[in-house]
C-alpha cells in the first residue's frame, strides 16, 4: 500500500511539473506540426487520386468509382500495411488520409517518447537532485511514478493529435460518420497508448542506466534502431505466401533469421488494430510484456546503482 502511495505521489508531482514546463508545449507543437504536414501531404495526394479516378472514368457512376477506390485502397493496404485480409478489410473502412497519417505518426511515436522522457532519471542523477528523492521514497517508486507520469502526458498529447487527425479526416471525407469517428478515435488512441507503453518503458530504462541525459537519448535512439532492425530482418526472411489469418506466425518461418522479428516489439504493433480479439489481445500482451521487461530492468538498474 505504501508503495502505491509513493508511486502516486511521484506521479502527481512529476506530472504537475512536466505540464508546467515548456517541453510539453514544444512537443505538442512538434507533434501537431508533423500531423498537420502529413495531413496536408496525404490529403492532397488522396484528393488527386480520387479526382483522377473520376476523370478517367467519365461514363461510370459515382458508386462504381467508390467501389473501385475501395478496392484500390484495400490493395494499397495489402501492399504496404498488412498481408492479413481481415485487418485490411477493417482498416479500409477508415478514410485513407486518416489511416496513412496515423500510421506515419506511429512511426514517429517512439522518437517523440524518447525526446519527451530521455532525462526523466538521468536528468536527476547527473545534478544529483535525485538525492532529495531517494531518502524519501523507494527507488522503484521513482521509476514507476515517473513512468506513469510520462504515460499520462503522452496520452494527453496523443489524444489531442488523434482528435485533430480525425476531425480533419471528417472534413476531407464527409461520409465518415460520427459513430465511426467515435469508435475509431477510441481504437486509435487505445491502440497507440498500448503500443507506447513498451517505448515509454524503453526510454525509462535508457534513462535509468546512465548519468547524462544526452547519453540516455543516444542510447534510446540506438535501442529504437535495434528494434526496427530486428523487425525488418525478421520480416525479410519471413516465408511468403502463407498469410493465413489467425494462424501462428511461428509456422510461417523458414529461416532462423525470421524468428528475430519476435524479439522486436515493433513486429507486434500492427495487430493492435486487428478486428479479431485474440490477435489484438496477444499483441497487447506482448507490448505489456516488453513494457514490464524494460521497466523491470530499469528498476533493477536504479536499485543497484550508486547515486
Amino acid at each position: 500500500m505504501d508503495d502505491l502511495k509513493e508511486i502516486g505521489a511521484v506521479w502527481r508531482g512529476e506530472t504537475t511539473r512536466a505540464l508546467k514546463t515548456g517541453r510539453v508545449v514544444v512537443l505538442l507543437v512538434l507533434f501537431l506540426l508533423f500531423v498537420g504536414l502529413a495531413l496536408m501531404g496525404v490529403g492532397l495526394l488522396a484528393n488527386q487520386v480520387v479526382a483522377g479516378a473520376m476523370k478517367t472514368a467519365p461514363g461510370v457512376d459515382a458508386e462504381q468509382v467508390k467501389q473501385g477506390l475501395m478496392a484500390a485502397k484495400k490493395q494499397f493496404l495489402m501492399q504496404f500495411f498488412t498481408d492479413d485480409e481481415r485487418l485490411a478489410d477493417s482498416l479500409a473502412a477508415l478514410p485513407l488520409v486518416l489511416l496513412v497519417v496515423f500510421k506515419l505518426t506511429l512511426r514517429f511515436v517512439p522518437l517523440l517518447i524518447a525526446l519527451m522522457g530521455f532525462d526523466q532519471v538521468a536528468g536527476e542523477v547527473g545534478p544529483k537532485s535525485i538525492r532529495y528523492l531517494i531518502v524519501r521514497v523507494r527507488r522503484s517508486s521513482i521509476i514507476f511514478g515517473k513512468f506513469l507520469s510520462q504515460a499520462t502526458i503522452f496520452t494527453l498529447l496523443l489524444t489531442v493529435c488523434t482528435l485533430v487527425m480525425v476531425l480533419v479526416s471528417k472534413i476531407l471525407n464527409p461520409e465518415f460518420s460520427a459513430g465511426d469517428m467515435t469508435v475509431w478515435t477510441l481504437k486509435l488512441v487505445g491502440s497507440s497508448v498500448v503500443l507506447a507503453l513498451a517505448y515509454l518503458s524503453l526510454t525509462a530504462l535508457c534513462s535509468a542506466v546512465v548519468r547524462q541525459g544526452a547519453v540516455a537519448l543516444v542510447l534510446n535512439i540506438i535501442g529504437l534502431f535495434v528494434i526496427w532492425f530486428l523487425a525488418l530482418v525478421g520480416e525479410y526472411f519471413r516465408f511468403p505466401g502463407e498469410a493465413v489469418a489467425g494462424q501462428l506466425d511461428l509456422i510461417r518461418a523458414d529461416s532462423w533469421a525470421a524468428y528475430l522479428r519476435y524479439a522486436s516489439v515493433w513486429h507486434f504493433g500492427q495487430d493492435l488494430l486487428h478486428p479479431g480479439w485474440a490477435r489484438f489481445a496477444s499483441a497487447a500482451l506482448v507490448h505489456l510484456g516488453f513494457a514490464a521487461l524494460f521497466l523491470g530492468l530499469a528498476q533493477l538498474a536504479l536499485k543497484r546503482r550508486d547515486l
Binding site: 505521489a9 528523492l133 531518502v135 524519501r136
Partner: protein, 303 residues
C-alpha cells in the same frame, strides 16, 4: 538519549581500484552532533553518502537507527539530508518543491510543514520563486529547509555553511545549535572552528582511513591542557610548573603559554585560576585563556 544512532563497522567503499573509504569504524550516539573531518579526498562525502543510502558500501556493516540505509525505503521520515552538491530542480518553485518533498516523506500536512521550515531558515518570501532563480546562499538554505521537514530524528548536513556569507553562515550555525540534543546531527565540513564549536564528537578521516574518532573534549585535550595568550611580561615558567596539579608548561609561538595538567586529579577551573593568579601577581598581562588544543592543530597533526 544515549543509544547508538549510527553505527559503522569496518565499512569500505571502492570505486574500481580506488579505495575511497577503507575499513572505517565509528559510532554516533543519539542526540549527538557529530563532525566528519578530513582534507579533500579523505572520504568524508563518501562516508556521508553511504550513511544516507546514496552509495552502497563495498564491505562492512552500516546501520542508521538500526536499519541498513541501503535497504529500500527504510530511511523514509527518519532522516533529513542536506547533500553537498545536489542541485535543486531549477524549474520548481520553492514552495511547490518543498510541498512535493513533504508529500513524498508522507507528512500529514506537507504544505503547512513547507511554510514552517521556510520560516525557520528565514526565507518565507521565496515560496513562489523558482529554485533556479535562487542565489547560492538561498539555495543552500532551501536545501537545509527540506532536510528539516518533518523533524526527522537524524539530520545529515554536508558542508552546510560552504560558500555562505558570514551572517548567513552564523544563522545556519544557530539553526544547527537548535537541533542539538533533539536530533542526532552529522555534519561534514572543512570549517574546523565551526565543528569545534558545534560538535560533541568527531571522526577524522584521511585518505579513506579513520585516523581518530573521539569526543570533542578528548580530541582537543580539553580535560588535560589549556593555553594562555600573553600580551606582555615574562612568564615565570618554573613557578607555573611547580603549581599543584601542573604536569608541564611551555611557551609556544606567539607568546602562548601552554599548560598540561592532571585531568583526573584536578579540576580545570582550579588550575586555570591558579595559573592566572600567579601571572597577574608577576605583572604578566593576559589577552585570553582557552582550554584544550585547537581542533585545527589536532587535525593538522593527524593528517
Amino acid at each position: 538519549m544515549s543509544g547508538v544512532a549510527i553505527e559503522l563497522k569496518d565499512v569500505s567503499k571502492h570505486f574500481g581500484e580506488k579505495r575511497a573509504v577503507d575499513h572505517v569504524t565509528f559510532d554516533v550516539l543519539e542526540g549527538q552532533c557529530y563532525g566528519l573531518i578530513g582534507p579533500n579526498g579523505a572520504g568524508k562525502t563518501t562516508t556521508f553518502s553511504m550513511m544516507c543510502g546514496f552509495l552502497f558500501p563495498t564491505s562492512g556493516k552500516l546501520k542508521v537507527l538500526g536499519v541498513n540505509p541501503s535497504d529500500p525505503g527504510v530511511l523514509k521520515g527518519k532522516v533529513g539530508v542536506l547533500p553537498q552538491d545536489a542541485i535543486l530542480p531549477p524549474m520548481w518553485p520553492v514552495g511547490a518543491l518543498l510541498t512535493y518533498l513533504g508529500e513524498l516523506s508522507g507528512l500529514p500536512s506537507p504544505q503547512t510543514e513547507a511554510r514552517a521550515v521556510l520560516e525557520r531558515v528565514q526565507l518565507p518570501e521565496t515560496w513562489a520563486v523558482q529554485c533556479g532563480a535562487l542565489s547560492h546562499g538561498m539555495g543552500k538554505r532551501v536545501a537545509m529547509a527540506q532536510a528539516l521537514m518533518g523533524s526527522p530524528p537524524v539530520v545529515f548536513l554536508d558542508e552546510p555553511t560552504a560558500g555562505l556569507d558570514p551572517k548567513i553562515a552564523a544563522s545556519v550555525r544557530a539553526l544547527i545549535r537548535e537541533l542539538k540534543g533533539q536530533h542526532t546531527v552529522v555534519v561534514s565540513s572543512h570549517n574546523l572552528q565551526e565543528l569545534e564549536e558545534l560538535c560533541d564528537a568527531t571522526a577524522i578521516l584521511d585518505k579513506g582511513r579513520l585516523v581518530s574518532a573521539a569526543t570533542m573534549a578528548e580530541m582537543t585535550g580539553a580535560t588535560a591542557e589549556f593555553r594562555v595568550q600573553v600580551a606582555s611580561g615574562a612568564v615565570p615558567l618554573s613557578e607555573v610548573k611547580a603549581l599543584s596539579g601542573c604536569r608541564d608548561a611551555k611557551v609556544e609561538a606567539n607568546n602562548v603559554l601552554c599548560v598540561h595538567f592532571d585531568g583526573q586529579g584536578v579540576k580545570p577551573e582550579e588550575i586555570i585560576t591558579r595559573v592566572v593568579k600567579l601571572l597577574a601577581e608577576r605583572n604578566v598581562l593576559i589577552l585570553g585563556v582557552w582550554r584544550g588544543k585547537r581542533l585545527e592543530e589536532k587535525v593538522l597533526q593527524l593528517t
